[in-house]
């Protein structure tokens, strides 16, 4: 075995990053897409970096799929159960396998999908990773006792961020803004549902049958491997995975007709916070709505915008100010977040945001600023592609939305086409006071 030199490890990977901004497509790597008979889609991105491989499994199920009452947080809970092993490879053996591999591994759950990754060194380990991952997705085994044992860990995860007011205001905003859709709750879920998780053994099996299936999952592999070799392993080990054929129908949210408001009294000293959400569009790589909103957020509310400069840098009424117009499979929210320095300024800041939106309905953004924003989006994306993990993670985000890895290129093509008039039209369409939910949080009495 050749002597390990850490500096050699990444050298070729770094050399291999194409100048993304100068290629025709924003995602500059070639990828291959294949699909097994059972519906499992495989996206492979062979790279010429030595050693490192990122192996991602994307299950297109997140808290959006928690449509039944009392089941909030279940997608995230099930992510935890996915580490419990199988009859052939019990949890302890699975842990030892990953330990010997020295893998960077974890899972995370979002509103729309759950992602599992194993990042490891050595092409010679690819088959064992494919085999072990296939085994746990096909043959996961746990009993009721293991459900009862794992559920308190979720409670612990809830406690890990219980002192964070940002989490609380986000939970309150979603709970207030949505009436029917499962986006009403966060991925962590309501505390009462978390406390009931020990009793959800039967539901966990139903959840697994519905969503942990090849026709609802995508493998995404990036790094130092041979595509044909990968496919041989995938066919061999994932071939027996049975389809689900389940179709999820998420509740449709009724159109909001009047503004909603809520306030949270934080029981200890904190900076006051304001969150304003507007019901927005679902993600699309064909319609311009969401792409126009992305550009609007950057033009009018990013750190270079006039409003940010006024509130954060010049008047210094806000400590932070940012938008969260995140992509979702179903219509979600366009959210403005700010942390203020003084509670008395809450009404003023709210007014400033609404006033700016009204101005943007009347005045199109200037072309030069729009060009700068498009530039920022491209360079930001290029900066994210520095590792196999960065490449796989960036693509995973877009694949989840449509199931198609080409989505990332389509979205950036859309950005190029959007004009100031498009943005103005979308601003008028979504930013109506009646469509808004305003939540404040400030130091108050204990609750």
């Amino acid at each position: 075995m050749s002597k390990f030199i850490s500096s050699a490890l990444c050298l070729t990977l770094l050399l291999s990053i194409p100048a993304a901004l100068h290629s025709a497509k924003i995602f500059p790597y070639d990828f291959k897409i294949e699909e097994l008979e059972n519906g499992l889609k495989i996206v492979s991105i062979p790279l010429d970096n030595p050693h490192i491989i990122s192996f991602y499994t994307i299950v297109r199920s997140g808290s959006r799929n928690e449509i039944e009452s009392g089941k909030s947080g279940f997608a995230h809970f099930f992510e935890h159960m996915m580490f419990k092993g199988t009859k052939d490879v019990p949890r302890e053996d699975y842990d030892d396998f990953l330990t010997l591999l020295g893998a960077g591994t974890n899972g995370y759950t979002t509103d729309d999908f759950t992602c599992y990754f194993v990042v490891f060194a050595g092409q010679e380990n690819l088959e064992s990773v494919v085999k072990t991952e296939a085994d746990r997705f096909i043959n996961l085994y746990y009993d009721e006792e293991m459900i009862k044992s794992e559920a308190p860990v979720i409670e612990g995860e809830y406690y890990a961020s219980v002192s964070n007011p940002s989490r609380r205001i986000y939970e309150t905003l979603r709970n207030t803004a949505f009436d029917l859709h499962s986006y009403k709750h966060t991925t962590l879920g309501y505390l009462e549902d978390i406390l009931d998780m020990p009793n959800q053994f039967e539901y966990s099996q139903l959840y697994q049958k519905r969503f942990y299936a090849p026709d609802n999952s995508i493998l995404l592999v990036a790094g130092d491997f041979d595509h044909d070799q990968l496919m041989d392993y995938v066919r061999k080990y994932y071939g027996p995975w049975e389809k689900s054929n389940y179709t999820l129908v998420t509740p449709e949210e009724k159109t909001q007709t009047k503004q909603k408001r809520a306030h949270y009294d934080w029981p200890s000293p904190t900076l006051p916070r304001l969150a304003i959400g507007f019901h927005g569009p679902a993600f699309s790589d064909e319609n311009i709505d969401m792409a126009a909103m992305d550009l609007l957020a950057a033009v009018a509310f990013s750190s270079s915008s006039a409003l940010y400069q006024k509130l954060v840098i010049e008047e210094q009424k806000c400590q932070s100010f940012f938008t969260s117009f995140s992509d979702h499979r179903d219509p979600f929210m366009l959210i403005f977040n700010t942390v203020l320095k003084q509670e008395k300024d809450l009404p003023d800041i709210e007014e400033e945001i609404f006033k700016e939106l009204e101005r943007l309905k009347e005045e199109p953004v200037d072309v030069e600023t729009l060009a700068k924003v498009k530039s920022n989006l491209k360079y930001s994306f290029a900066n994210s592609l520095g590792t196999t993990d960065g490449i796989a993670g960036s693509l995973a985000y877009y694949i989840n939305l449509t199931g198609d890895p080409n989505t990332v290129n389509k979205v950036f093509d859309l950005y190029e086409k959007i004009t100031p008039e498009d943005i103005q039209e979308m601003t008028r369409k979504y930013f109506m006071t009646t469509n808004s939910t305003v939540v404040t949080l400030a130091e108050g009495k204990e609750r």
Binding site: G102, S149, N164, P198, Q319, A371
Partner: protein, 510 residues
């Protein structure tokens, strides 16, 4: 002709004079660089390392280093306001980041080569020609105060616990205040203090500029030339007092209304990555509590077997999480500490979990690591560390840290040394550097008086579960719940959370 001769002679004399001045300047007073060129790479990554940190804060001016460097990273230059900088950074997706620790600070940035010249022209002025505007000073100082008064004590209990451990471990020591300082000291800081700190410490000998990526070949010379306009000189390395060993279990409890208890505990250790023994202790602590990995023994015992919280870890030296779960770089310290981090858990289980962690530590110290775990964990480290340096910034950061710790390449050194370590060396390092009887323990919880009472009385602390548990776990619980801690009443200080960080050190107990 004669005129030309005089001119040449003048140039020669001037050159000799400059050469002489340069030779008489100590190497420790001059600018240093770490370069890692990668031809053809479209990105360039910067790490501008300053061998000065919060331990260099003058007494009664704690937080000054944090404030000064923050004004460089988030303030205007002599020519550009911060608003103008933000607007010029934005199309390039550019930033100037800052990481600050006790004895080291680093400014970081990454830029596409398309924008290298423009980006560098801005950050160069941010660092070399700071504007020190009153409005930047007020904005950044206010943020720092808000962090101390509200955010740290009220909105981030996990970090709060780690900071309390630091206060307890380093009372009366230059490390003994949070990097942001104290409310009292920060309130007293003036713009003149900031300018004086900059003049004193932002000097050539304190600075190593690191560069990697696809920068032009002549770029380092240009950067060196620019940064050489700073005054020569350096800040002498701090002479630190001996680290204070706790007398038994020394508790500091921050009391607040909370449904969950956060705990951090530890003690100073007399080694760092510089030492040969580090590699053996690294295996031991990785076994005991590798950060956010299933291999962690504490994680298995507290979370996996009993579902008490989200995770439980241990560290052989100061650890800051960087990308993903990997260690961040450029947090080098002369003095180090061992620590255990118990993430928040239900208040009802706080006494049990504390006993459990301390019992497991005792077992580790007395018995060493099990033979079957030794090979597993060593192989784990050999493979896992191959993932440490994947980004440009990480590569450069490890190269700089390698130099700090006295290696050509620390990660390569690990690959060389780890396979040669024996189980006996690991257990010997455990016995030499770890202990289970003398720890500082920081706790954030509610009803502190009640916790104090049961700690002093050594009351049994049974645990209950939502469902059945295997008999071996229940048997082990019986041992944990009565594990004697022998806590002395005088060794428990409890203080309302809101009183922390007002002044240096642990506030007076109630």
């Amino acid at each position: 002709m004669k005129k030309n001769t005089f001119y040449l002679l003048g140039v020669l004399i001037l050159g000799l004079l400059l050469f002489f001045v340069s030779c008489t300047q100590k190497s420790s007073d001059r600018l240093k660089s770490e370069l890692l060129p990668i031809e053809g790479n479209p990105l360039v990554s910067f790490r501008i390392l300053i061998n000065v940190g919060s331990a260099n804060d003058p007494v009664d001016k704690e937080g000054l280093c944090h404030l000064t460097w923050s004004i460089l990273a988030s303030g205007g230059t002599q020519d550009l306001s911060f608003k103008e900088i933000s607007q010029r950074f934005y199309p390039m997706a550019a930033y100037l980041g800052l990481n600050l620790d006790k004895e080291m600070s680093v400014f970081t940035g990454q830029i596409h080569v398309d924008n290298l010249e423009e980006y560098y022209s801005i950050i160069k002025d941010m660092l070399l020609k700071p504007g020190f505007r009153e409005e930047d000073f007020i904005r950044i100082k206010t943020n720092q105060l808000n962090f101390l008064e509200r955010t740290l004590v009220s909105n981030m209990d996990e970090q709060f616990g780690k900071e309390i451990l630091n206060l307890a471990m380093y009372e009366g020591h230059p490390y003994g205040h949070t990097e942001a300082g104290t409310v009292e000291s920060v309130k007293s800081l003036t713009l003149e203090d900031v300018q004086a700190f900059y003049s004193e410490h932002f000097v050539q000998g304190n600075i190593t500029f690191g560069l990697t990526g696809g920068y032009p070949l002549d770029f380092p010379a240009k950067m060196k030339n620019d940064f050489s306009t700073l005054p020569a000189g350096h800040t002498p390395e701090l002479v630190l007092p001996e680290q204070k060993v706790p007398d038994g279990f020394e508790f500091v409890i921050a009391e607040k209304q909370t449904p969950a208890t956060a705990m951090s505990m530890g003690f100073p250790v007399s080694l760092s990555k510089k030492d040969r023994d580090y590699f053996a202790l690294w295996i031991a602590v990785s076994h005991f509590g590798e950060h956010r990995q299933h291999v962690s023994h504490l994680f298995q015992k507290i979370r996996e077997e009993r579902g008490q919280n989200y995770g439980d870890y241990a560290y052989a030296d100061h650890f800051i999480q960087g990308r993903d779960k990997f260690p961040a770089q450029n947090y080098g310290r002369q003095q180090q500490y061992f620590s255990i981090w118990i993430r928040p858990l239900a208040n009802s289980n706080r006494h049990f979990a504390l006993r459990q962690a301390l019992f497991e530590l005792k077992k580790l110290v007395q018995n060493g690591i099990p033979a079957e775990r030794f090979e597993l964990v060593r192989t784990y480290l050999l493979n896992y560390t191959k993932l440490y340096a994947q980004t440009l910034g990480e590569r450069l950061g490890w190269q700089m840290d390698s130099k700090y710790y006295g290696y050509k390449d620390f990660l390569a050194e690990a690959q060389e040394r780890l396979p040669k370590i024996t189980l006996e060396q690991v257990n010997s390092a455990i016995r030499k550097y770890l202990n289970f009887e003398n720890l500082y323990i920081a706790i954030i919880t509610q009803d502190a008086q009640s916790l104090r009472d049961i700690l002093v009385a050594d009351t049994p602390s049974p645990i209950s579960y939502a469902g059945p548990k295997p008999q071996e776990i229940l048997d082990e619980d019986m041992i944990y719940e009565v594990f004697p801690l022998n806590v002395k009443s005088k060794n428990i200080r409890f203080v309302p959370a809101s009183q922390f960080f007002q002044k240096t050190g642990v506030p007076d107990s109630e």
